[in-house]
Symmetry: none
């Protein structure tokens, strides 16, 4: 899908669209031969499926498993291969930090270094938020620039923070310094390309200098006496979601990463600390009158999948199902329920399996799908579409796309 | 599918994949309303289909009929439009000949020229192998170079051979010299492009000189007194299948062309002269422990289709079905059964119809498909994918692909 073309066809009107992404929604059959979505008692989702058009979307394409970034980027209509966002930028975007174009961001993990120079704890004993904030502040006060490049610090959560380098053209194609195992020495940051650019070499020098200086500053800390860097990436703004599609878009998500990807796309992100689905729904109800496109992210289905907790995933889906009538009471013109990717409990990880999707709108064509599940969606009228085709469909059902050509 | 991207996600592990390509597997309904695959008694394939995910692949896309080269190239994951292999290179690759980059290969058919200069027999009375070898040798001894370009000869089978031109940059976009009908004079080899390159003009001169000299050398032959050239192509190595996907790949095929295309992809090709499916299966059993990806080619389904022999095709499929348990006993982590294209008996030729495919692995999602056939595969969970999407799926089910993006 050519974004410029899509944008050129987009028009403003009064319709409203709600997109619910249940993270990791898709699954594989559990012990009873049903997936979590199928095993869950979901009278409201099933009723919605009967009056909707159902099917699947492929986040990236057959066989390809997406990270959370590409999976959301695709559903927002952006080519996930063209707009790949590194971990450093993605995690930082979920904080109040305000990026400038060209910033190089890196995730920072506070760690414990043993006397012999090996990593004793990759998470510094999972220090709590206040401790993490304090050591982040300590670094911020003592490292304001390196070699003429401004250094900015941002605490993320617990032992996690971010370092942002600003003011010079840099190349973020760098390896992580995290050896991924305790008992090993931290790695030098180095360019990943065989023939690295001068900007990548300079960026690696900056990172290694940063790590050395942080080590000195943190020398007296009991736990967080060291930092490791990962996910280097240069911030480049995405085409603005609100300008592209000519609507006011708002994101409600409990986890920083999903707030981050929405913010990167240019959505208005509700920053309040909602954490339960109820709290999220309350915010949706509050924001609905002031928005045209509302993205609601439900995280826990994925977490349960990653834990291999089949019943837990069933519970999250049933929990959402009980709250679904409140979304329907808002009477959005288009309501789409899907996942960003599959997270089968059996695999305990993201997977490549197509994701069930259900689109409810006046203008959908009827299909035979009677329940919302991986097997029933095979009879859905949508068939199997690519994630980037979801946004054009939502716009179309919202009557927000003009005809192409005469 | 971007091959570089796919390769960057591929990892090594201990899993094993078997891909069975039953040549020309897909068909159209015969007199009893069933296709050969449906009419065949295939208890083992049907049982496999029940525990697998089924569907179709399009070799090139709706309406496009592939030759054997593109049909295999696509299933191996290469873009069949980007990597088009000419007949000269494809047929030569099936022989022990070792290509060098830039070689120009052409198929050579020995023919009988009448006294009036027209073609009397396009296959020189289908001379047997030893006769074909003898006249190929005769040419090899007498034509070692033309205009400073080295000429290499390779016998293929019976009246078929290949001529390879080496040592100069040439352009293989040339027409065939075969007039395709007896009673017609052979054609001049000429560039096919409207504005041919100098390299194409030089290549045409080389070919016409070769034909003229071959005619002199063969003047005393009773049958093979002339040669016709076709399928000019320049050899360019394909991205290496083993390096791309980071596994040891092995091909078992009875026919030279399929050995050739596997060799061009960089697979280890079992050169022994297996010809029955039993003999092929024995080799698969022998090679399985030493390989991660095993490609088994079953030719005869296509041959029967080309002959319009409906019952013959049924017989080949039933024959394979009886041997399928031996493949399953090897317990590959992923077993995929499909065809390279359809060859409906009614059309007696390759066709564009989507090809049934069945993928068996722990991580496949259940579908409603109860038998392996063109009608039942319509209910399969795979839906309709492109041939180039098969390889990413096999890699994914073998847990050989990393997640893309954070």
């Amino acid at each position: 899908m050519d974004l410029d073309l899509l944008s050129s066809l987009a028009i403003e009107n009064e319709t409203k669209v709600v997109l619910v992404i249940m993270d990791g929604l898709g699954g594989l059959a559990g012990p009873n031969g049903k997936t979590s979505l199928e095993a869950a008692h979901t009278p409201n989702l099933d009723a919605l499926a009967r009056s909707s058009i159902c099917g699947f979307h492929d986040p990236l394409g057959p066989g390809l498993t997406p990270g959370s970034g590409p999976a959301h980027i695709g559903l927002f209509g952006y080519d996930p291969f063209r707009y790949l966002i590194g971990r450093g930028v993605l995690d930082t975007a979920g904080t109040p930090f305000v990026f400038e174009q060209g910033d190089m961001a890196s995730r920072l993990n506070f760690a414990t270094l043993a006397a012999d120079g090996t990593i004793a704890d990759r998470r510094a004993g999972r220090i709590p938020d206040e401790e993490g904030k304090r050591v982040t502040e300590l670094l911020a006060e003592n490292i304001k620039e390196i070699n003429g490049v401004q250094v900015l610090m941002q605490h993320v959560k617990e032992y996690r923070a971010a370092a942002i380098f600003r003011g010079k053209k840099l190349d973020g194609r760098l390896c992580d310094s995290d050896p991924q195992q305790v008992g090993h020495k931290p790695l030098e940051v180095a360019p990943t390309e065989q023939n690295p650019t001068a900007e990548a070499k300079e960026a690696a020098d900056l990172a290694n200098t940063f790590i050395a200086r942080a080590k000195e500053i943190l020398a007296d800390e009991q736990k967080a006496n060291f930092v490791m860097m990962r996910g280097f990436d240069i911030y480049e703004p995405l085409p603005n979601f609100c300008e592209l599609y000519k609507w006011r878009a708002c994101a409600v998500a409990a986890y920083p990463m999903y707030k981050g990807v929405s913010k990167l796309a240019g959505m208005r992100v509700i920053e309040e600390g909602q954490s339960t689905i109820e709290e999220e729904i309350e915010l949706v109800e509050r924001e609905f009158p002031n928005t045209d496109f509302l993205f609601l992210h439900v995280k826990k289905a994925d977490s349960m999948g990653e834990d291999g907790n089949f019943e837990g995933k069933v519970g999250v889906i049933e929990h959402f199902d009980r709250l679904l009538p409140r979304l329907m009471d808002l009477k959005p013109d288009v309501l789409c329920i899907t996942g960003d990717h599959s997270t089968p409990c059996r695999l305990k990880s993201h997977s490549w399996h197509p994701v069930p999707i259900c689109i409810s709108a006046e203008s959908v064509r009827a299909d035979a799908c009677q329940t919302f599940g991986e097997t029933s969606c095979l009879t859905g009228g949508l068939g199997r579409i690519h994630s980037t085709e979801v946004m054009p469909l939502l716009l179309a059902h919202a009557e927000r796309l003009m005809k192409y050509g005469a």
